[in-house]
Amino acid sequence: MKSEMAKAKTGFPFTSIEQINNSQLRANLKSATSAIREKRAKVVGEKQDWEELRRTGERIKDEVLSSLDEYLLQLEESVTKVGGIVHWAADSSEANRIILSLIQEHGESEVIKVKSLTTDELDLNEYLANHGVSAFETDLAELIVQLAHDKPSHILVPAIHKSRSEIKELFENTISKGRVLGDGPAELAEASRLYLRQKFLSSKVAVSGVNFAVAETGTVCIVESEGNGRMCLTLPKVLISVMGIEKVLPKLDDLAVFLELLPRSSTGERMNPYTSTWTGVHPGDGPEEFHLVILDNRRSHVLADPVGRQALRCIRCSACLNVCPVYERSGGHAYGSVYPGPIGAILSPQLFATEASLSLPWASTLCGACYEVCPVRIDIPRVLVHLREKVISEGYKSKSEEASFRLIALVLNAGRRFDLIQQVATRLRRPLNRLFLAGSLPGVLGKWRAARQIPEIPKETFRMWWRANGSDNGN
C-alpha cells in the first residue's frame, strides 16, 4: 500500500511549482535549514577525526550490506535469545497486518507511536484507523502534522512548514479542549505535554521504528529529543518496533560510531537529549513483550543495484536536506514521498518506482553539497545520474532527455569542467535568462521547457557560494 502522495499523478516538476510559490513555507524553510546548517558545521568542526568517522560509518554500513542475510539471521537469533519475538514482513501490507494482529491480540484499540519514517512508509496509521485502531503520534511535530491531517515535510522537523500561529489555532481546536493558548513555543509544547501524559500512562501498546539494531547482542537503539520515545519504550506492556532490513549493525562498537555521527549531522548537537537501548525484555523494567518486525518492502530490490544500493547506508539524519538548494526552495512535500530531499530523490524511485517518484532523480542540480555532508558518504549525485540513465533506458523518458542528461553525467564526472561550465553560464546569464525565461523555445527544447521551472541563472554558482560561505564553517 503506497502512500497517497507517492501515488499522486504529479511528478516533482509539477508539485514543486506550487510549493515554490508558497512564501511562508519558503521563509520557514530557509531560516530553518540555515540555522541547522550552522549548528552542524560547528559541532562537526569540533571533531578532528570527522572524516575518519565518516569513512568508518561508510565501511560499517557497506560491510552490513555485503553480508546482509547473515547479519539478519544473527540479529534474529540474538533478539530471540533475550526474549524478543521476530517477525518478517516482505512488504508494507504484510507489516501492517502483523502489527494490527499483535494489537488486536491484546484487545487494544489505541496505540502510542514514536516518530518513525518506516511506519510512515507503511501508511500504518491509516491502515490501523481503517481497522478500528487509533494510533497517536507522540513526537510534537508529528502530533501537529497528525492533528492537521497533513503530511510531514522534513525528516527531522516534520512540521517545519507550520508557523506558530497556525499551531496555536490547531491546538485550540483540538487538544486544548477549548482553552485559549498563547503562541509561545514553550506554551504550545506544554499543551502537548499535558495532552500526551495521559496517553503515555494509560496505553498498553507502543509502536516505534528503529535507528539501529546490533546483530551481535540483539540490542535495539532509538535516538530522540523530547522524551516521548522513552515514554513509549518504557511504560506500555507491549512494544512493537519496525525496522527496515538495512538498519542492522554488526557490533556494539559500531553503534558507538553512529552515536557520534548521527546527532552531529542531524540536529547539530554533540548528542541528542535521549538515546535508549534495550536488549530484549528486561523483567521489572519496561515492556513485558517485545516484537521486532523486520521489513523488506523492496529494499532487497535496491540492494540488487550495485550503484544504487549505497542509498541503504542512509541513517536518516537529514543533513543532505539542509544543504540542498532545491529542497530549500521546494520544501519536502514537492517530493511526494515520505523520503524528501536528496536522499528521497535516490531512495523513493528505487523503493516505490511509481511514475511520480521516477521524476525525482531530476530534482537536483547535482551540486554535490549533499555528498559532502553525508555522514555515511553516500555519493548522491552519482546515484542520481545513474538513476536518470536507468529511468531513461527503461523507457520512461523521451530520447531527447536522454541526450541532455548524458551531458550532465559527463560534466559531473569531470568536477572541474562542471564548475567551469557553470561559471561560463553565470557570465552568460543575461542572454540565457532572456532566452529561457521568455518561454518560447523551438522544437523539443520547447516541450521540455513547458514542463519545467527553469530557475534564473544566479550571479554566483552554488559551488562558488558554498566555497565562500559553506566550507569555512568547519567541513
Binding site: 539478519l72 522537523v157 560510531v257
Partner: protein, 227 residues
C-alpha cells in the same frame, strides 16, 4: 535458528526476504569496501590549537562545560559535601516530593528538609511516579565530550521509569566514572540492562525551530560532579 513465529505465512516471508537479499548481493559494488579500519586518534600531530585545548581539558571540566551548554545546572564538590549541595539545590526549587532508587547512598539525602521521600521498590505504579516531583540518582558512567549521563539501571540509578516521569532529575556523578568520548562507551557499560543516555533536559525545536527545554522527560536537570 531462533524460534520465529511458526505461522506459515511469516515463515515463508522470512525465507523469501533472505533469498532476495542473497540474490541481490550476487553483483558486487564497483568499489568493494575493505576490512573495517579503526578510528584515528585525536591529538595526533597537526591537531588545530582549539581542539588541542579541548583535549587537554580534564574530563570533568569538559563534561561541565558541555552540560552547561545544554542548560543543565552543574555543581562541583567533594564527596562529603554532596548532602549539603543536594539539600541546597532542593531548597532553591519548588519540590515537595522525591523518589530514590533502592541502592542510593542514603547519606546523600540526609539534609533535605520538608519533602516527602519515597524509595522505589520496583512496584510503584507509573501513575504514582508521575505525581512525584523529583528523582535523585547516582550514575555509573558519563561522557565528557557530549555531556552525557549513561544510566544502565544500576542499584543507585533505578529502573527507567523513575528517571523519566518526575520533572526534576538530580544526578550525582563521580569524576572517576567520566570517560572522554562516545567511542569507548560499550567498553564501560553492559547492554544486559536497558541503557538511557541523557544529554541535557528534554527538548524540542519543532515549533519554528525555537528550542524549548522540556517536553516529556524531566525539564530540569541538575548534575553534581564529585571529585
Amino acid at each position: 535458528m531462533g524460534a520465529t513465529m511458526e505461522t506459515s505465512g511469516i515463515k515463508s516471508s522470512r525465507a523469501a526476504i533472505l533469498e532476495l537479499v542473497k540474490a541481490a548481493l550476487r553483483e558486487k559494488s564497483p568499489s568493494a569496501p575493505s576490512a573495517l579500519a579503526g578510528i584515528a586518534t585525536p591529538g595526533a600531530p597537526g591537531t588545530p590549537p582549539s581542539i588541542r585545548k579541548h583535549l587537554e581539558q580534564s574530563v570533568a571540566d569538559l563534561f561541565e562545560e558541555v552540560l552547561l551548554d545544554y542548560k543543565a545546572t552543574v555543581r562541583r564538590c567533594a564527596e562529603h559535601q554532596v548532602p549539603s549541595v543536594i539539600a541546597e539545590l532542593f531548597a532553591s526549587q519548588e519540590i515537595s516530593s522525591a523518589v530514590i532508587p533502592d541502592g542510593l547512598d542514603r547519606s546523600w539525602i540526609e539534609q533535605i528538609k520538608g519533602i516527602e521521600l519515597v524509595v522505589d521498590d520496583g512496584f510503584r505504579s507509573t501513575g504514582e511516579l508521575a505525581s512525584i516531583d523529583a528523582v535523585i540518582t547516582g550514575c555509573a558512567c558519563a561522557i565528557a565530550e557530549t555531556g552525557t549521563l549513561v544510566l544502565s539501571c544500576q542499584p543507585d540509578e533505578g529502573r527507567r521509569a523513575i528517571t523519566l516521569l518526575p520533572d526534576f532529575h538530580f544526578c550525582v556523578v563521580r569524576s572517576s566514572v567520566i570517560i572522554r568520548g562516545v567511542n569507548d562507551l560499550f567498553k564501560h557499560v553492559s547492554v544486559a540492562n536497558p541503557i538511557t543516555l541523557i544529554s541535557g533536559p528534554s527538548a524540542t525545536s519543532d515549533i519554528e525551530l525555537k528550542r524549548v527545554e522540556g517536553v516529556h522527560g524531566p525539564r530540569n536537570l541538575f548534575v553534581i560532579i564529585v571529585s
